[in-house]
């Protein structure tokens, strides 16, 4: 019935039936890890750098996919959490905090706190209003850090040393850092996949599919969304922390709205129905950007055309293609 279908903003129920195939996501994580090891083994530092960047953005896309795909909340401000996580590491470093086992929880906490606080406001809105107000809060964070001259302001902040792990300087080697990012990505993907399968996962999906029915079943829809949004903010901030560590640099540009848009493209490209889609989308988009830039000066034009083509081919096409077109 059109009435009920309209309440479900993910592609029609092809997805839920096959949602129990997290194997795709694990495959992507495995490939990213292999690319890093290959890069290190064959003396190709660029592969390693690229794979690390992909892992970082896959983590951020994973965070967005959790609220966007499962909760139906189209956040247009997730770059803010990326930036907040990065600044947690950058500012922590400025004050002599260089232990990753402290920096990561700090970043997650900052991300969760900003998500919980802004969530109290943004989650009272719906649809286009939600998109605009998440964007507004992200831009707010962007401008705050632009004017924060004590920490580099517009120019950003350079991290002079990489953090330590229990006092050991292991992340000096790029491969260790890269595999560290992949390990955390795997852990977070495993955790979030479990959460999606948990009672809360069902509750969250229910709030997306039919809000009125969810309320009538006794579900506090606002609270469910707030929990999901906070969790997502924490995960995105973890990605931001690693972005700062990997690049050795933090700048307000991390929070730019264009980056938020990029994260949405990643999630939509890979398919919103399951978390693994975000990992695929992030990988494909970043490889496309990199590959097209090698071929043409006007790579952004080509990227745009390819994205339009993919959207016309129906959202989630990549994942279906990979699955052998069973449902294509």
């Amino acid at each position: 019935m059109a009435m009920t279908a309209a309440n479900d903003n993910n592609p029609p129920p092809i997805w839920p039936r096959i949602a129990a195939s997290p194997a795709l996501g694990w495959g992507v994580i495995g490939l990213i890890g292999l690319a890093m090891i290959a890069g290190a083994a064959f003396g190709q530092p660029f592969w390693l750098t690229m794979a690390t960047r992909i892992a970082v953005f896959a983590m951020a896309a994973l965070a967005l996919s959790f609220v966007l795909g499962q909760g139906g909340l189209v956040s247009f401000g997730h770059a803010a959490y990326l930036g907040l996580g990065a600044y947690a590491v950058g500012i922590g470093g400025e004050h002599g905090l260089a232990e990753i086992t402290l920096l990561l929880p700090l970043a997650a906490l900052v991300g969760a706190a900003y998500a919980a606080l802004t969530g109290l406001i943004v989650l009272r809105t719906r649809g286009v209003h939600f998109i605009m107000i998440t964007l507004a809060f992200a831009q707010m964070a962007y401008f705050v850090f632009t004017s924060l001259s004590a920490y580099g302001g517009d120019d950003g902040l350079t991290l002079w040393a990489r953090p330590t792990l229990f006092g050991f300087d292991v992340f000096k080697r790029d491969i260790v850092l890269g595999l560290g990012v992949v390990a955390l990505l795997a852990l977070l993907y495993g955790l979030l996949t479990r959460v999606v399968a948990s009672p809360f996962g069902q509750t969250l999906q229910a709030t997306r599919q039919n809000e009125a029915r969810a309320e009538a079943l006794g579900i506090d829809v606002f609270r469910a969304r707030l929990v999901a949004y906070t969790l997502s903010g924490a995960v995105a901030a973890l990605a931001g922390a690693f972005l700062a560590i990997a690049t050795g640099f933090v700048a307000p540009a991390y929070m730019h709205w264009g980056r938020s848009g990029e994260l949405i493209v990643m999630v939509v490209l890979g398919g919103t129905g399951q978390l693994g889609g975000a990992l695929i989308g992030a990988t494909v988009l970043m490889l496309l950007e990199e590959g097209l830039a090698l071929v043409s000066e006007h790579w952004k034009l080509w990227l745009g055309l390819i994205l339009i083509g993919l959207v016309l081919l129906r959202i989630g096409a990549i994942a279906r293609l990979l699955r052998g077109g069973r449902h294509g």
């Binding site: 129920p13 009538a216 079943l217 469910a224």
Partner: protein
């Protein structure tokens, strides 16, 4: 007769100049099926929305199980045991019939915010869900995605979800709307099976169903209740006949 399950005290609601609910008082006793009938535009939906909490009345009180719930949200009232079906069938379209009912059970038992899967809880939920589905005749359709169910089946599913909430009061908003004759009879029979066990507030156009199920009938016209009584009394009332402009409301 005991304390009423639901008591509406002088509810009043206006939208601008439109006075949609006028001093409506009504109660539902334990075990009673109370029907509300009235012509289109009488304010039945607005009244229901004030009972469920989607709308807050301008004046008056809603008491449910002895609590004043006038200021409470929809989900708070639902947790107290107010279950409902919607005029336009409302289920989770992308979930299976079984998962829809499990959702109702899990939410009712306040386990819906657990962040980790629990195999035992899930097995219990599924067993209870299958039982509820069997009760409404959907035993063999448990694994079907709700969007793929026939209209009548989705109606039955919605009822199974409401029953799984172990309701203290079941609010049925035109359950027979859009169903065929055979389906209406089947649903009526099904609901009759829950009489005495579950108090119901039934808003319905189908007079056959109303007369078959209701212990008392209240007639809502232009936002006000003009008569309350047994189905026979209401059918005989001249005020009701006038309000319905000569329509014959006997089944």
């Amino acid at each position: 007769m005991g304390e009423p399950i639901l008591r509406l005290e002088a509810l009043d609601k206006s939208f601008g100049a439109l006075h949609v609910t006028r001093a409506v008082s009504l109660d539902i006793r334990p075990g009673e099926v109370h029907a509300i009938i009235g012509p289109n535009g009488a304010g039945k939906t607005t009244l229901i929305n004030q009972i469920t909490g989607q709308l807050t009345p301008d004046a008056g009180h809603v008491r449910f199980k002895g609590h004043d719930v006038t200021g409470q949200s929809v989900h708070e009232r639902a947790r107290l045991g107010l279950a409902r079906t919607f005029q336009i069938t409302s289920v989770m379209p992308a979930m299976t019939a079984r998962d829809n009912v499990v959702l109702a059970i899990v939410s009712q038992s306040r386990q819906g915010f657990r962040l980790w899967p629990d195999a035992q809880l899930r097995a219990q939920g599924r067993a209870a869900a299958d039982e509820a589905l069997a009760t409404v005749g959907l035993g063999r359709r448990a694994g079907v995605i709700a969007a793929d169910l026939a209209h009548g089946e989705r109606r039955a599913l919605e009822l199974a979800m409401a029953l799984a909430q172990q309701p203290a009061l079941l609010l049925l908003d035109e359950p027979m709307a859009g169903t065929g004759k055979g389906e209406t009879e089947r649903l009526t029979e099904l609901l009759r099976g829950f009489k005495r066990r579950i108090p119901m507030l039934l808003v319905e156009h189908d007079m056959g169903a109303v007369f078959a199920l209701a212990d008392r009938v209240s007639v809502l016209v232009e936002g006000a209740i003009i008569a309350t009584g047994s189905p026979a009394e209401v059918a005989a009332s001249s005020a009701v006949k006038t309000a319905y402009l000569g329509e014959d409301i006997t089944p």
